[in-house]
Symmetry: C2
Subunit: 278 residues, 2 copies
């Protein structure tokens, strides 16, 4: 496939087999060796089965392989003159690991190509009818590490709300590879509210709960932090809108079935936060 | 394809035929009528030819059709009991128009499905090795309208830089459907600098110029505002990084061939802006 030496294709898979692009399919079919990275994100069993139906010689790579051993397992194949693909769920963008592997391959003198796919970040905005121009900083709600709970997600949410911006909260993955649920994430946000007391995580806050985005059975439910809906299997994501324009309000009410009163109340709440800020 | 009444599939096409997902292909092949929206974004001739090779009965829809006539041309097909697809370049997220059409279809009692694809926003971060956690607000550099030049893109850039965040500047589309070039965008940013004098658009600012992202012949060149490189055909995009972490620096230098001195100088410049801000 490549000209002028071996190429590493860092290849996004999207959120489900339906998101796989014609380019990703071509790469998967034509390269000599295919690796799959399964620790910065994960695919449900159906996704794994789909990938194996295309390449049954798929090699799984761990955090250990990529970070502690500098991707040696991949570099060895390139050194043998083989083209290789490193498959990644979503778009290869969220994790620093992928950029680091691209740098290592380049320093070894190999070609690197990034194959884009559907990212959770853009897919969320699209499915929720939210304007990308009002997206605030993105954060991940994380489990306590060594007994310490990071306040970053809560602080980012507070900062975005005071600016009237939308917040995407991605949820952590446990070391045993389970995904954090929306319920766990809300518990953590409530604990942080008790600690930091910005007055943002309370019953007035409108929360959009999302499960299995990109799959046919995805669920999107608008609710509060006091009433976390049952949205079924993980992966889950949480989105908290800032100030909404009229089309965003209509989309929430008519397409996502949110109650108009509830949306109006949220608007007043966010407005009070942005006014305080001025 | 649909159950329980006609369905409108608002379907992203990605940035080039290589980005087309298996789901988008299925929708294009199976629905009764396929519309293509060509005014919020556009596809080069090769893209149009590719789409026509799949559906030679493709119907082009204008701003007039969707905004002034409330998508009547589409609603009529749904009323006849037909499933319809509205194809959109990129991911159907940037334009308010798409959310508005979804709301209209829902209010008429039809099903709406959003089919995600590769978005310019996420694809840029991915190709440039920039962390999505440090993405600031997104803006579009626009032509003067009725003789007035909007300062929004410049103000957003200033705000992001003072916060150390990355800025994606999308470029306008003219009414005659030509794309704004990087050269034109830089001219506009310089004019705004003269007017607003935040001291941000000057020779110390590192700018990443991108052309034809998503195509095999895409170009990515790191330079300054004083030296806009020839990056070939439009569409163009401009990305201005904020404070960079070590992997982002390595990616710029080793993968995108930026000069290390130049990157270090930019870091010092942004640092000085963020310090002033504190």
């Amino acid at each position: 496939m490549s000209r002028g030496g071996p190429t590493l294709y860092i290849t996004g898979l999207g959120l489900s087999p339906r998101n796989i692009t014609t380019e990703a399919l071509e790469v998967m079919r034509l390269v000599d060796v295919v690796f799959l990275e399964t620790y910065t994100s994960k695919g449900p069993v159906e996704f794994m089965n789909y990938l194996r139906s295309i390449r049954n010689d798929l090699i799984l790579v761990s955090r250990e392989d990529l970070e502690n051993r500098n991707g040696d397992v991949i570099m060895r194949e390139l050194e043998r003159g083989h083209d290789a693909a490193l498959l990644v769920f979503g778009d290869p963008m969220i994790a620093t690991t992928h950029a680091a592997i691209a740098v290592i391959a380049k320093r070894h003198g190999f070609n690197v190509k990034i194959v884009n796919s559907v990212s959770i970040v853009c897919a969320l905005l699209s499915q929720l009818g939210l304007s990308p121009y009002k997206l605030g900083s993105i954060a991940t709600v994380t489990y306590p590490r060594m007994g310490v709970l990071s306040t970053r997600a809560y602080d980012v949410l507070g900062d975005n709300l005071k600016r009237g911006l939308h917040t995407i909260l991605l949820l952590d993955i446990r070391d045993d590879e389970g995904f954090m649920s929306a319920n766990e994430a809300v518990d953590i946000l409530r604990r942080l509210e008790e600690e930091r007391k910005l007055g943002i995580v309370n019953e007035r806050l409108l929360v959009i709960y999302v499960a299995r985005l990109g799959w046919v059975d995805h669920r999107i439910v608008v609710s509060t932090v006091n009433n976390v809906p049952d949205i079924g299997d993980t992966p889950h994501t949480i989105v908290i809108p800032g100030l909404l324009n009229p089309v965003e309000v209509d989309y929430l009410v008519h397409v996502l079935n949110a109650s108009k009163d509830f949306v109006d109340n949220h608007q007043r709440f966010i407005h009070s936060l942005t006014v305080e800020n001025k």
